[in-house]
């Protein structure tokens, strides 16, 4: 199992290299620069000398291939470079932001799992029932909402109208501030998970070995516990991992909306201000998170499904 995990970890390397190359290329041709972002809101005047000096300081006056060389070389040493804007090491800036993002993502995932999984299960065990129909209508609806719109709605509802929860921000890092953004971010994966689970359970329920189990004289409870759960999980777990990726992307919107101090808002700010090293670093870290989670999922998969680890 350890070998398997290691192998999967090693397989991440080419993807990471390719991603870093891709984002370097993209952001080396993006218009605008850190210098121009400084006067973007019309404050102050453009100081061409300052622009020159900034370019010099950050090596932006060098040709692309030299810059790429430097970038690749520092990456190889696990150095994400220095922020144009703050002159801090990118890694430390990301370090500060990573935990809130992960917290948010995992909280959203928890929302999705804790609600979506059982809902999908129940719906599948009583296909065609009212609960099933409601769950599925709800799930499809959940997948059809623009996220920032939903965020605004919950904000108005839970914070403004009901006054139960703070509407924004990180607070002291506690649960109260986490709930609304996590809910907003979690709705789509929740809906998807409920659907996937339902489909997976239905598929398993139709499998031949379930018929075998029934022929043993098992009641439904044991049938589900002994034979359905694990098999359905195998089918669900992949969705979970992939969902994590698109959630990392959606986090950008949700973090911005809720002023959540995560990697997503750092990324958006940095794109706007053309703080390229931070942009590159943030994307790389997001991708890395995604890959790690999916590696974890693969390992989990292998733990649950002996066919993978033995094969």
């Amino acid at each position: 199992m350890l070998r398997f995990a290691l192998r999967r970890l090693l397989q991440m390397i080419p993807t990471v290299i390719a991603v870093s190359l891709l984002i370097f290329v993209i952001f080396s041709i993006v218009p605008g620069s850190i210098a121009s972002s400084m006067i973007a809101d019309g404050r102050g005047t453009n100081d061409p000398k300052l622009v020159e000096r900034i370019k010099q300081e950050f090596g932006l006056d060098q040709p692309v291939h030299v810059r790429f060389g430097n970038y690749a070389w520092s990456l190889a040493q696990f150095d994400l470079g220095t922020s144009f804007r703050t002159r801090q090491p990118v890694s430390s800036m990301i370090g500060e932001r990573l935990w809130p993002t992960l917290k948010l993502a995992f909280a959203a995932m928890c929302v999705a799992i804790v609600i979506g999984l059982p809902l999908g299960f129940i719906a599948a065990l009583k296909p065609g029932s009212l609960l099933d129909s409601l769950t599925m209508i709800g799930a499809i609806s959940g997948l059809s909402l623009p996220q920032f719109w939903l965020g605004l709605l919950v904000m108005y509802l839970f914070a403004l109208t009901l006054g139960w929860l703070p509407s924004f921000g990180y607070g002291d890092g506690g649960l109260r501030n986490l709930i609304l953004p996590a809910l907003t971010l979690g709705v789509a994966p929740l809906a998807l998970l409920a659907r996937t689970t339902r489909a997976a359970v239905l598929e398993v329920m139709n499998a031949d070995f379930i018929r075998t189990a029934r022929s043993k004289g098992m009641n439904s409870f044991r049938l589900v516990k002994w034979h359905v759960v694990r098999n359905a999980l195998v089918l669900v777990i992949t969705t979970l991992g992939l969902q994590f990726g698109s959630m990392m992307g959606q986090a950008v919107v949700v973090e911005k909306l809720f002023s959540w101090p995560g990697l997503g808002s750092l990324l958006i700010d940095s794109v706007g201000l053309r703080d390229i090293p931070v942009v590159q670093g943030s994307i790389l870290v997001l991708v890395l998170c995604f890959l790690l989670v999916n590696t974890l999922v693969d390992v989990l998969y292998a733990v649950i499904d002996p066919r993978i680890s033995h094969g």
Binding site: R7, L10, Q11, P14
Partner: protein, 322 residues
């Protein structure tokens, strides 16, 4: 007995090995030896049957013959001309040499094409004009016992037996010399089988076809074949004329196979095809080979052995005793 006529198809020392999946970081690639040094000949107008247990490489061999599977080593000659390796003819050319009929009548027809399209497209591909195409399709439909106007339909509108007829029609539409039949009746209902078997035999006579038939149903094999080759783990262990194989099976595997057939009439009359107590002894200096195989062994090379002629062209794979 001097210069034997060149057989229609000659398979020589053919091996097909499959690399077993290994990742980018897993350099150690195992080889699954699906077919090992198989040599066969098929004469004109003959039906050669290949029998053997599941996974022994029958289909792989068949696919190599029709050019769907590149051999790892060895060669195949058609009318004396090599059709593997460098001298390989183009697909178009090859299409007129050998065609194949598949086991599963449901998967063997494109569900999105009408039967007419399935039959006509290859004709057009081979440069046959429109007018002729239609008459050829019509003729072929009749030949396999279907009504020509049924050609307008889609495969799902046909029963399994009818689909198999269409599959046969498609295989024959280019007038190939050799037809490979990969378990042509095993997926069919019992009451339909006889129709297809009769049809195949009829067509063979009428069109002077040569068959290579793969089957695990020995009663069908006996009924249809001229010669039989028994395959076991990628190798041919016994081959000969059908009379000789069914009357005097030599190799332990052949005997086991024959002994295992549940034949209703034999079953009821208490007659046994094989007297297992009376296994014929191999000629001196040889032993049967291979006797026992482990599933793992498909990855390693078999021990040295050879096909030894017992009587006429009845050969058995034997290993020299050390």
């Amino acid at each position: 007995m001097d210069s034997a006529p060149e057989p229609l198809l000659r398979v020589e020392d053919l091996s097909v090995h499959f690399p077993v999946q290994g990742g980018v970081f897993n350099r150690r690639r195992k080889m699954l030896r699906a077919v090992n040094n198989v040599s066969l000949t098929l004469n004109k107008g003959e039906c050669l049957s290949i029998v053997g247990e599941s996974g022994c490489g029958k289909s792989t061999l068949a696919l190599s013959i029709v050019g769907l599977q590149a051999p790892t080593s060895g060669s195949i000659h058609f009318e004396g001309r090599p059709i593997t390796g460098k001298a390989q003819p183009s697909r178009i050319e090859r299409a007129r040499m050998a065609q194949i009929v598949f086991q599963d009548p449901y998967a063997s027809l494109n569900p999105r094409q009408t039967v007419f399209t399935s039959l006509a497209a290859p004709l057009r591909l081979h440069g046959i004009g429109n007018g002729e195409v239609e008459s050829r399709v019509e003729e072929m439909m009749r030949l396999v016992g279907l009504k020509p106007d049924q050609a307008k339909r889609f495969p799902h509108e046909f029963s399994g037996g009818q689909r198999q007829r269409i599959g046969i029609a498609r295989a024959l539409i280019l007038n190939p010399k050799v037809v490979v039949l990969d378990e042509p009746v095993s997926a069919l209902d019992v009451s339909i089988r006889a129709q297809i078997i009769n049809l195949l035999l009829e067509l063979k006579e009428r069109l002077r076809l040569s068959y290579i038939m793969i089957s695990h149903d020995l009663s069908v094999v006996e009924h249809m074949s001229d010669r039989v080759a028994v395959m076991y783990f990628g190798q041919i262990v016994e081959t000969g004329r059908w009379e000789s194989i069914f009357a005097n099976p030599m190799h332990p595997y052949t005997r086991r196979l024959l002994g295992a057939i549940p034949d209703p009439f034999a079953e009821l009359s208490g007659k046994k095809l094989i007297d297992e107590a009376q296994a014929p002894r191999p000629p001196s200096g040889y032993d049967y080979h291979p006797q026992q195989f482990d599933r793992q062994d498909v990855y390693s090379a078999p021990q040295p052995s050879q096909l030894v002629a017992i009587a006429g062209d009845h050969c058995v794979r034997l290993a020299p005793v050390a």
